[in-house]
Amino acid sequence: MRTQDVVKSHSQLLQKEMISRNYDRITGGEAKVSSTFVPGNLNELLMCFDIANNLPEINAIQNAMRKKSGEMITNAERSGHSEDVCTYVKADIGMMEKGNIAPNGKPFPNPDMLLLSYTGCFTSLKWFELLREQYQCPTVMLHVPYAADGKPTKNMRDYIVKQLKEDVIPLMEQVSGIKFDIDRLREYLRKSARAEDDLVWMLEQSKRKPSPIDCYFGGVYYMGPIFTAFRGTDEAIDYYQMLRGEIEQRIKLGLCAQTPEGDMPEEKYRLVVEGPPNWTSFREFWKMFYEMGAVVVASTYTKVGGVYDYDDFRHDPDHPLATLADYCLGVYTNRNLPTRVDMLARNVKEYEADGLLINSIKSCNSFSAGQLVMMREVEKLTGKPGAFIETDLVDPRYFSAANVKNRLESYFQMIDQKRRAGGSALAS
């Protein structure tokens, strides 16, 4: 399919424009820039200091979708980085060696600070130590403890709040020259909560049959504003209202999920997917699903930045620092495996899915370690079959289209067999 043939909704176009605008701001030379991570990112706090938010995972994804990440990764490996480690890190380091060019074609400036939000991913700790070597800029660690017993504790929350007060906010003040204004933060958090309400409404619409949206491949577009540089802004509120309007219209018309080739004609299979997508062959990967009539009704990747639809978290302007702590603590990969299993099993049941598909990512142990056990546990809890495929985030060497397609076809045959044996009913 040629690029101009791709069907995009107004919200998708707006999302793309918003992401582009953020790149223009980062590369514009006027704003101070902080690199930080998607999971548990502190966008509202950065906004209090007019600091632009640069997310290296998003840069790696952009490079992967433009087929540039492969060369960046091999360059990083040639300079001494192991083949065994996270390809986000190597794409980022390889990008530096290629001039650090942003998707808008302009060079990234060196960051004014590194906000090392260590949330649910050990690699992020080493990643920013590596970047610090390069940029030699002020770096602040925000250590978010792992919610190992399922629920965050007061000790964890207090620890994060203290780090915000003692280390993170003072550095932001120093870098930006702007004094922290907690009322400004409250206002942003209020806006965050408004957008989050519409976001959760959107996520829950895939309980409908047929689902008007795909919550994995489509979901990554819908998540863009909330998990990047727009949570806490009027633009995010407007975006999610527009998205809500589009989905309401789709529901009214009884449409199946939208794909790059238009609306799915029929919904045959409903899946819950665990794990990030592959980005180097994103469109090809997605096509394998919609060509077989499979829609993803819930995914854990749409919770990678923060979880809103499991225990009703919303940013709370009345407790501005504590709510940031709770947001970080609640990130999907910061939750223990029993909680992740419960979340997945609930999704399979509540969204009436045919089963759980795990896309296990070589680069991401935070997601991947334990997924085989999780799959068996979810199967036990739901009685629905699970399936397992393996790809990578941004390394094209680890996407084997034939293998993935074979496994998916086998999985759908397994679901068909289950149905014939009296299991799941037809999706729609």
Binding site: D84, L116, L125, E129, E166, V373
Partner: protein
């Protein structure tokens, strides 16, 4: 002090090393009704608190080179390191059935998630993910850590149906201070006379400390040093290296032997750091949890799993160890797919390059069998060091 020979002591340690059913720990538990055993994984847990509860801390370092992993591969993908799959193998084959609780330190995402696997598969066991602070300020990371220690203590009290007093912990601190002192004496002795304390012997001696009660391990080290001193062993024309990267998944014993056979005396390493994580004696009076916290924050070892807040300090611990032990070079031996070791390595390599210290890198798994390439690589490294030293 006993008059046991080095051979007898090493043979005793080798027997413990090869026993993946942990018979000695089982015997310890069976000796008195109600005794509890707490397993822990690398890198660090405060064993003093477990000891103070009257429990046996048991280091679990995977299944080793010889254990066949049959079930474990069904639990982990091929791109995940070996230690979790062999540890799961130990558990589901009943070899850890006597272990009442497991502690998983905050070393990486794989070990972290393993705590969840334990929660899912072994619901009757005490499971503690042990999160140490990455912030080293007293009122921030310190306050968090003290509370974590209190929660650990409370968990052990509940498990053991006992009370752990400050005096109990202070007594255990004394015992572990002594143990660390003897560990350091062994390391000092090896660095001074590596031909008299081969790396494989020291390794086995420390591995015994993962299983034996701490008091017994201390006596064993005392006996070893006395015995080693009584023996005359020939000094070889070897270079002196620091071995880095072995802090979690363990190298096969043959790899350690191969390095020395290839001409590299190992004069320092980062294996079993729990035995020497704290760099100074912990005060044995006052609030023991505060004291353990202070020791962790301000006097603990550096490793890839720990954040270094200060760019200028990054790598200095390694450089100081090289200087102190008189190493000529560094061998980075990282387990395959080990995120902490492999992500940290480029930064450490840069420090070595800047300091003009030679190094090589290699990878292993705990069950690596082919040692010829290792010997060739290490042998070439040793030759090149000797060649440079002579020029």
């Amino acid at each position: 002090m006993s008059k046991k020979s080095v051979k007898e002591i090493v043979s005793f340690c080798q027997e413990i090393f090869e026993d993946i059913s942990f018979i000695r720990a089982r015997e310890w538990k069976d000796a008195h009704p109600g005794r509890k055993v707490i397993g822990y994984m690398p890198v660090y847990v405060p064993r003093e608190i477990i000891h103070a509860a009257g429990m046996l801390p048991l280091g679990i370092l995977g299944g080793g080179a010889d254990m066949e992993v049959i079930h474990g591969d069904a639990y982990y993908q091929s791109y995940i390191c070996r230690i979790p799959r062999s540890t799961i193998e130990l558990a589901i084959t009943g070899r850890l059935d006597f272990v009442d609780g497991m502690m998983f330190p905050s070393i990486c995402d794989v070990i972290r998630n393993m705590s969840g696997i334990w929660q899912l598969l072994f619901k009757d066991k005490f499971v503690r993910y042990f999160d140490t602070p990455q912030n080293f300020e007293d009122q921030v990371g310190g306050a968090f850590y003290v509370q974590e220690l209190h929660e650990l203590k409370a968990g052990l009290e509940k498990l053991g149906d006992c009370t752990i007093s400050d005096a109990d912990i202070n007594n255990s601190i004394v015992v572990y201070n002594e143990n660390r002192a003897w560990v350091n004496k062994v390391y000092d002795y090896r660095a001074a006379t590596p031909w008299n304390a081969p790396a494989a012997e020291v390794y086995l001696l420390m591995r015994a400390g993962m299983v034996l009660p701490v008091e017994e391990h201390t006596r064993l080290m005392q006996d070893y040093l006395a015995a080693a001193d009584r023996e005359e062993r020939p000094m070889r024309d070897n270079c002196r290296v620091t071995l880095i990267g072995t802090f979690c998944e363990q190298p096969p014993l043959n790899l350690i032997k191969s390095l020395e056979m290839a001409g590299c005396y190992i004069v320092d390493d980062d294996s079993m750091l729990v035995t020497r994580w704290l760099l100074k004696d912990v005060p044995s009076d006052g609030d023991p949890l505060e004291n353990l916290s202070q020791a962790f924050l301000h006097h603990s070892a550096e490793t890839a799993a720990k954040y270094e807040p200060n760019l200028e300090e990054k790598g200095n611990y390694m450089l100081e160890s090289i200087r102190k032990r008189g190493a000529d070079g560094v061998i980075f031996a990282a387990p395959s797919f080990c995120d902490p070791a492999l992500l940290d390595q480029p930064m450490m390599v840069k420090r070595l390059k800047d300091a003009g210290i030679p190094y090589i890198t290699m990878q292993y798994a705990e069950n690596s069998g082919q040692m010829q390439p290792i010997r060739e690589q290490a042998g070439t490294f040793a030759d090149s060091i000797k060649l440079w030293s002579a020029s």
